[in-house]
């Protein structure tokens, strides 16, 4: 109806040098989000639905947004799905060893 020129800036991703350690650690301090991290560690792009998480859809949306806004994952639109991937290069560049340490933790 109005302003079609400012259509949609939907997916906010911080730049690599904007990644903040407290925000990243907070994003990873939730068991559901740790599981998402572990599932993305292979490097694959995966849709939200392909994760078998113990929460309802809208809560998933919340967790993926927290991870994206902290710069942990990247979200890309593909049709009706969001493809999620780990921003491993950016994380490794800014916080060397952090992702490896988290992924190597017991009982993940």
């Amino acid at each position: 109806m109005l302003s079609p020129e400012v259509a949609a800036p939907p997916l906010l991703h911080p730049e690599r040098d904007e990644l903040e350690l407290p925000a990243v650690l907070h994003a990873l301090s939730d068991p559901v989000r740790l599981r998402i991290l572990a599932d993305l560690a292979s490097g694959e792009e995966r849709s939200c639905k392909s994760f078998d998480l113990p929460v309802v859809k809208s809560t998933c949306t919340h967790h993926f947004r927290v991870l994206r806004e902290a710069g942990v994952i990247r979200q890309r639109l593909e049709g009706t799905t969001r493809l999620n991937s780990l921003r491993r290069e950016d994380l490794d560049a800014r916080f060397p060893g952090l992702v490896d340490a988290v992924l190597g933790a017991p009982a993940l």
Copy 2:
């Protein structure tokens, strides 16, 4: 007045194999607590008061407790002071590389 035999179990410290990754990451997701970690990285034992933190005493108590209960630091009573030290061996044993990665992060 009663039961002097169960006098005081004051300082709770989780065992090494009880350290939980979400709890540790949450403990480290606060800037004040990250600063405490960085200040303890030398291995010294330091009193709470020796930290120059931008919060009042009771808030310091809170932050040191969060770190202790997550297993990040050890607190020992010495007279009227609490001596704090990093549980680096336990952390390194259970989450190899994690402390190093956090301490190596930029803008700490």
